[in-house]
Every structure is written in C-alpha cells, then in structure tokens.
C-alpha cells in the first residue's frame, strides 16, 4: 500500500525518467486561485488519474499543462524538456494530446476532417500504430466518416474526440472528464477504448469525477481538492481514505471559493 499525503512524498516520486513532470503549477483567474501549486508526475506508458470534486482545478491543470491557459507559476516538462506556457500548438507537436471537457469537435466538419486535423500534430515521428487500428478501436469513425461531427450523439462524439487525439500519436494523452454526460453504455465503451490505448503504450492523465472507476482503472491517482493535491492513492488504497480526503478538504475548498 502506497498511499501518502502529498507534499514531500511527491518530490520523492519525481525522477529523471518521468515523461510528464509538473512542478508547483499555479493558475489564477483574476483573483481566484484555480490551481495553487500542483506537482505531479506521469511516467512513460503510465495511466494516472486526477480526481476530485467539481471546481477542484482539475481541468485548469490539464489546460495549463497544454499551455492553453496562462500559468501564473510553476514548470511543466515533457521528458525533461520545458513545455511552452502559451503555445498549445507546439505542445501538441511535442507529443501531448488533450481531449477537452465537452469534446469540442469541429461541429461543422465531417468526422474525416476532424480526424485529419488530429494527424497534424504527428510531425515526422513514425506512429506507433496504424491509422486502421484507430478505426477498429473506434468503429464510429468509420461508420460516420462523412457525417458532420456535430450531428453525432454525445458518446459518438467522445469516441471521435479520443480518436482525433490518438491520431496525433501522442506520448501523453490528457483526458478531461471523458465520461461526462454520457449514458452508462457509452461510458463503458470509452473506458474499454482507454484500456486499448493503455496497451498501445500511451501514457494517460485522466481527469474524472467518477472516483471509484478511475481509482480502479489507473495505476495511481491524485486526489485534488481546492486547487491542491491532497492525497495520492493507488488501486490498493481503500476508497474510504479517498472519501475522507474528498470530504475533509471539500469544506476547505468551499471556504476558499467564497473568499
């Protein structure tokens, strides 16, 4: 059992082999602090969860890693290389793909065009999989190839969004609440697709509100509350201690919000 309160333990976990190394990341919107000094690591091929209640700063953390929202402090490195804080297009080309919350496909474009845009960030690297494999993994992308993406159901759009990110052949996939607003069957489909992606050797940082499912799926999970990481858990961590971390700090988060 390797559950430790965050802080010193995290510093120890950071090593030179880390794929993603986030140190003391801070994001503020005006006066409100969304992310108040987050440090986390994701190793190559590792699947890591980032769970926490609404408003904990999980999405802001992902967007800041991507360089899509301004960081007010901290450092983000991919394989030791510092990632641009303000040019998401360059971060994407270095091998980080984000599936944003709410999917955000190009609604007026066809599924095929959305996927073609996904391939943009691939650059000159030779991909670790065949494009056809992505089609098999997400049959929706074949079936509705020439359909406008905006006309698909939420679950179908999520599959296209993940396929689009995967086609960039990322080393690290950032997923923001892929199960949000989906029917239970679609959630199962998304998680089974993620399982395949894990087997391809793509590292995943998964933001979710479904704590139990995420703890089960990921090899490690960070519990984020009120803009900070409060707890680090793995599969063997009893869910009760995660719940304690959630609730213990939820009141803190609420009071921080009111300020």
């Amino acid at each position: 059992m390797r559950a430790s309160l965050s802080g010193g333990g995290e510093e120890g976990a950071r090593s030179s082999t880390a794929l993603l190394d986030v140190a003391d990341l801070r994001v503020t919107y005006g006066r409100s602090v969304a992310v108040g000094g987050v440090s986390l690591v994701v190793h190559e091929g590792e699947v890591v969860g980032l769970i926490g209640p609404n408003g904990a700063g999980k999405s802001s953390t992902l967007l800041a890693i991507m360089g899509a929202v301004r960081r007010s402090g901290g450092d983000v490195r991919l394989s030791g290389k510092r990632l641009s804080p303000s040019r998401p297009e360059e971060v994407a080309r270095l091998g980080v793909a984000l599936v944003p919350e709410g999917r955000h496909l190009f609604a007026s474009m066809t599924v095929r065009e959305n996927l073609e845009l996904g391939r943009l960030a691939r650059g000159d690297r030779s991909p670790r999989f065949d494009d056809r494999e992505v089609g098999q993994l997400f049959p929706v992308t074949e079936e509705f190839r020439n359909q406008r993406a905006g006309l698909l159901s939420g679950g179908q759009q999520q599959q296209v969004a993940i396929a689009r990110a995967l086609l960039a052949d990322p080393d690290l996939l950032l997923l923001d609440e892929p199960s949000l607003g989906l029917a239970p069957a679609a959630v199962t489909a998304v998680f089974s697709a993620l399982e395949h992606i894990r087997q391809l050797g793509v590292a995943i940082l998964l933001v979710e509100q479904r704590a139990e499912m995420t703890l089960e799926f990921c090899s490690r999970s960070y519990v984020m509350v009120g803009g900070r990481i409060r707890f680090e858990a793995d599969r063997s961590t009893p869910i009760e201690s995660v719940i304690v971390a959630y609730f213990g700090a939820t009141s803190t988060a609420a009071s921080e919000h009111e300020r």
Binding site: P100, F106, M109
Partner: protein
Amino acid sequence: MTFVGYLVDAVSLGALYALIAVSVGLVFGVLRQINLAQGEVMAFGAYSLWIMRALPSWLAILLCFGICVAGSLVLQVLVFRPLRGASALTTLIVTFGVSYGLEALWLVVFGPEGKPVSMLIKLNDTVVGGAIALRWITIVDIGTAAVLLIGLYVLLFRSSLGLRMRAVAEDFSIARIVGVRIDRVVTVAFVLCGASAAVVAVLETVQTPLVTTTLGLSLIVVALVGVVLGGLDHLARATAGGFIVGFVNSLLGSILPEQQLVFVTSLTFLFVVVVLVVRPAGLLAPRGAGAERV
C-alpha cells in the same frame, strides 16, 4: 446603353465588392477582427501603380501584388497582432482610425488632386457596342472575381491548409490544441487579403484611371455594409452580401437621373437598414443560424 447593359455593369462592380468582402470575411473568420484597413491597402496599391506608371504594365501589376501583400502583412504585425483577443468592435474602431490616418498620409504624400494612371486603358474599349455596350474590363472583372473566388473555395475546402483555416475559424483554441500553427494561418489570411487588394487596385484603376485619397474608404465602407448584410460570420454569405450591395449600388447609379445621383449611397444604405430590421442576422443567414462560419 440599355437596362441589360446596366445589369452587366452592376454584376461587374458587384464582383469587385465581393473580392473586397471576402477579404474582410476571411480575417473575421480567422481572427474575429474587422479589417477596415483593407481599403487603404487597395489605395496603397493604386498609388503604387501611379508611381510605377513608367514601367511596363505587367511589371507594374506584378510589383503591385508584392507591395499590397507586404502592406497587408505590415498591418497584420502592427495593428492586428496587438489587437488579438480584443472585441470585434474594438478592431472595427481601431482599423477605421488606421484607415483615416492612412488617408491623411496619402493626402500629405500625394496631394489632394487625383493621380492619373493610364494602365491597360484599352480594356475600357467595348467588345459589343450598341445597346449592351459591353466593355472588356467588365468581362475581366467578372472573370477574375469568379476565378479567385472559386480558387479560394478550392483552397478552403480541398486543401490541408484550408482545413486548418476552417478549423481556426470554427474554434480558435481547439485548433491550437490539435496543433494548428495559428501564426501561419493568420499570415496566409493576410497574404490572401493583400493579393485581393492588388487585384481590386488594378481593376479599379483601369476603370477609374484617377487615383484619389478616398479610394480605400469609399470602397471598404460599402463592402463592409455588404459583409454585415450577408452575415459577418459566414464567408460565402459575407461575399454574396458584398456582391449584392455592390450590384445595388451600381444599378442605382446607372438608372437614377443625374441630379439624384447624390442619393445612391443613401439609398443603398436604406436598403441595408430595411434588410437588417427584417433580418438582423443578415439577409442570407438561415433562420436560427447555426455554428458554421466558413
């Protein structure tokens, strides 16, 4: 000249306004900025033709393209880049100010009297005389605009670069997240604007061989009205709006009696006001217009 002749002329002028409107629509699509300064790039191009009046026409036209593209890119860097993220209204006002500033600059540099340019003057000869009085320039106007607009369509919908431009137009942030290099797309948009400005400068100068300081603003304001009429948010509709306003403007200019010509612009704008009262999203926007923009 008969009504058919007026109609053909109006189509030709509408085609020029469509070229101006498409430039405004392109910049709005990519950056959500209103490019009123486009008119002064055209004026700059027209003045450059006067400066180069001693050169062979083909060379002057070629250089005019380079000059307009360079001017457009300079404006991009000096005006549009610092305004990134500002509201469309802010960009409208700032580029309006830039236009007035440049107009004053032309006045200082070139003086108040028009500069004659007799380039390609033969294009004003008639192909078919009599009732229609079709001139070569009319055919060149319509042909050039058609070729350029079709070319732009092919670029946007059949090329990888066009896909990236449409992605930026639909969702700026997500386009960046998937790896679209935004600065390149913006540069391409302004290069296209510069080229379109050169085309308009050449065609306009052939038809009206006197370059004056007001050339830019007088064209751009009418074109902008057309863009708004068609729907700022949608490139094809914005272009069509530019065409319609140019067409109406020209037709009114031809059929109104001479002493009422002063009302042409007022009547054109009245037409636009009526349209926008009835259909605020633009004449050509579908009811409950959707998210698609390009």
